[in-house]
């Protein structure tokens, strides 16, 4: 049980499998690759946002403005396309917007020392306002087919953009787990002062975390525009909270230093799976949020209690030799000398 707790990714995977099993049990026709790829397609945006949120949260920060960034970049790609630019140019433009938005967040938090939650709450409003100013309140419609084609499945039910998502996740996971650059993220979140003293460029690392987050939000915006086909006003609203929830489910700690990209991926997948399962069960849409909240809280409560139990166990171990003597035995017990204490 403890092993399961320590390996959050494993338990998340088990939860996904379990939920899938429940789905299949009720309707055998759902046991197909198509179901999986359908869930994956719906989850693409959340997965990207969760990966970005992971990077920020690993450095012990938070970014609640990504929803607005997604909207901003969706508009960017739409506007660029409608103005006649080619697909690559439009996508690069959106990526640039996302990077700038993320970088600005980073500047506020790292250089101006503003607490991350306050700074990104501010940019949440700022970027959304910017979005609406840009479009004048109108929806972006009539996007070219070339964009929408990117979301058509090409192999095993996965679209080109879907493959892009998988590649991004793989690169991010590899970078964070295997490269020194990636380990720096963990170090910065775990103990900022120690990281600084050991020569990590802490400011640069945190700035990059926010910038990457912005860029990933940009890709998510492109996917949104591609999947939906038009960009409504409320694009992205509320996505940041779902991304953070996915990360928490996947084992990322708000205090930084723990968690993996795989965990975030699984968390995002699981959250989307719940939504999809409810839809397939023909449950009315108004059950979705309630069940998502129930699941999230359930996981949190379980996680919290288990963590407390673990801490209590560690404490008991630390003081294990201090046990009251048996009644009648008045002498103090002989303590085994610690092996290294041969003074």
């Amino acid at each position: 049980m403890k092993k399961l707790l320590r390996n959050r990714e494993l338990s998340a995977l088990l939860a996904i499998v379990a939920l899938f099993a429940v789905l299949v049990a009720l309707n055998h026709s759902y046991f197909s690759l198509q179901t999986l790829s359908m869930i994956f397609t719906s989850a693409q945006i959340l997965i990207l946002l969760a990966v970005g949120a992971t990077m920020v949260m690993l450095t012990r920060n938070i970014d609640v403005s990504v929803g607005s960034t997604v909207g901003l970049c969706a508009i960017a790609v739409g506007v660029a396309l409608n103005s006649g630019y080619g697909l690559p140019a439009a996508m690069l433009f959106a990526l640039l917007i996302g990077a700038i938005a993320g970088f600005f967040n980073g500047v506020l938090v790292v250089w101006l020392r503003i607490p991350a939650i306050v700074a990104t709450l501010g940019t949440l409003g700022l970027y959304r306002g910017g979005m609406l100013l840009w479009t004048g309140g109108k929806w972006i419609e009539g996007l070219p087919a070339s964009l929408k084609a990117l979301s058509e499945p090409v192999a095993i039910g996965v679209s080109p953009l879907g493959f892009l998502v998988l590649i991004v996740v793989a690169i991010a996971a590899w970078m964070l787990a295997r490269t020194a650059f990636g380990r720096d993220f963990y170090a910065v979140g775990d103990n900022l002062a120690a990281a600084r003293q050991l020569g990590v460029a802490v400011n640069r690392t945190r700035l990059l975390a926010f910038t990457f987050n912005g860029m990933l939000a940009a890709i998510a915006g492109i996917i949104f525009a591609s999947q939906i086909g038009f960009v409504p006003n409320q694009t992205g609203s509320g996505l940041e909270m779902k991304a953070i929830a996915a990360c928490v489910l996947g084992g990322i700690s708000l205090l930084g230093g723990t968690g993996t990209v795989i965990g975030a991926f699984l968390g995002a997948f699981f959250l989307t799976q719940i939504d999809t399962v409810l839809v397939l069960f023909k449950l009315p849409a108004w059950w979705n949020d309630f069940i998502a909240g129930l699941v999230l809280l359930g996981v949190l409560v379980l996680d919290g209690r288990l963590r407390q139990a673990l801490a209590r166990h560690q404490r008991a171990q630390k003081y294990s030799r201090f046990v009251p003597p048996l009644p009648g035995a008045k002498n103090v017990r002989q303590f085994p000398r610690k092996k290294k204490d041969v003074a």
Binding site: A194, Q197, R315, Y319, F322, V323, P324, K340, D341, A343
Partner: protein, 499 residues
Amino acid sequence: MPNTTAMLEAHHISKQFSGVSVLKAIDFALYAGQVHALLGGNGAGKSTLMKIFAGVETADSGELKVHGKAFGRLKPGQAHELGIYLVPQEPMLFPNLTVRENILFRLPRQSDIEKRLQEKMRQLECQIPLGATASTLEVADQQMVEILRGLMREAKILILDEPTASLTPGETERLFRQIRALQNLGVGIVFISHKLPEIRQIASHISVMRDGAVVLQGETAQLLDEQLINAMTPLDRKHTLSDTQKLWLALPGNRRTQPQDFPVLRVEELTGEGFIDLSFELYAGEIVGLAGLVGSGRTELAETLYGLRPVRGGRIYLENREISGDRTKSRLDRGLIYLPEDRQVSGLFLDAPIRWNTVALNEASVWQQSKREAAVVERYHRALGIKLNNAEQTVRTLSGGNQQKVLLARCLEANPLLLIIDEPTRGVDVAARADIYQLIKSVAAQNVAVLMISSDLDEFSGLADRVLVMHQGAMNGELRKPSITVESMMSMAFGGGKA
């Protein structure tokens, strides 16, 4: 023999923090193969100077020369490349990474790195599991990890900030063997400590710092202990405990004028986190010292008496009433007051006004009563000699000694029957120390039972009526007034009998 060019040279290094001079034109030199000890009291500036060497802080003016090359300022990365490594006093590990990752962090992945790590660990006779998460280690082990970090980086200049603070004598001896081995390899070592015997053992040169300046420098063999101690303590503040200096304090509330014939505190076969089977009694009006080494269980005992830690066996009686299961608030209300050892973290609210801190334990009414509370602060200001400007200034602005007095005022305002003080004069300058001793005496004189925990054995001699000595969680013995000597206490603290 050390060669003639210094590995590390500092000329006229100065630094200010918010207008206060922390370092004043410091000159310092370290040669290859040399162990240079840095001695000084709290706030002398030792840590700041070392941080400048390691690139963590920047000097405002002055020159730093490493291996002959001059640097205006160093970045931590640069310092590492130059072979300078600072092992901090408080281990700074990454709690969620493994021990191996902590030690090898940011080291280039050479093929023989694993072998070298095992080699170093063998030399230090270190048995820490490499796969363990750093947050689960004891402080002594964490310190060892820090030292390993420095060794693995092939540091040429190793700065050790109070490395033996949490080590047993055996571990200290092993560390010294490593240091001597490093000396033979030409490594220069700066050794910060306040333990004179150790410094005499290991260091060839000593620099004494006080108030941000180097006041004495020279070879260890040529400096006497007296000279060193004199250099560390400022001349104009030499104080001796004088009976004529009376800081009298009338405690609030209804106080008993006659001591009872039963003990204020009775502890029966008490077992808890950190101690086993303790039994003792405290009577009103006496000052009882609790001595022992770091880790002997004294603070854990105090916290258990206060209600912050659970009782595993035995009973606690306050004035013949059992309180073993009571919550801390009810123990406070009954007169059991505890002054914690780390006052800045567990005791004071540094950014709150003095007034708030003073009345925190005794707020009679649902409303804040600023006038009454200001009067209370004024009373303690006079009685305890606290240097303050007004009752609304934040405690952070006070000196260590005055902060301790505010905490003491808070405890006294809560009308104690039993006052447990943990390390009353830690981080307190000499003048305030004398005041605090006087206050403890005057408090005891008003029929309060005082239990005083201290690591400074000299304090007990003039102050305590009795001293209980703990060793590894058990009560090793008790000493009464004429037999309270530092030698006896030291011997019992290490597990032996009376010296």
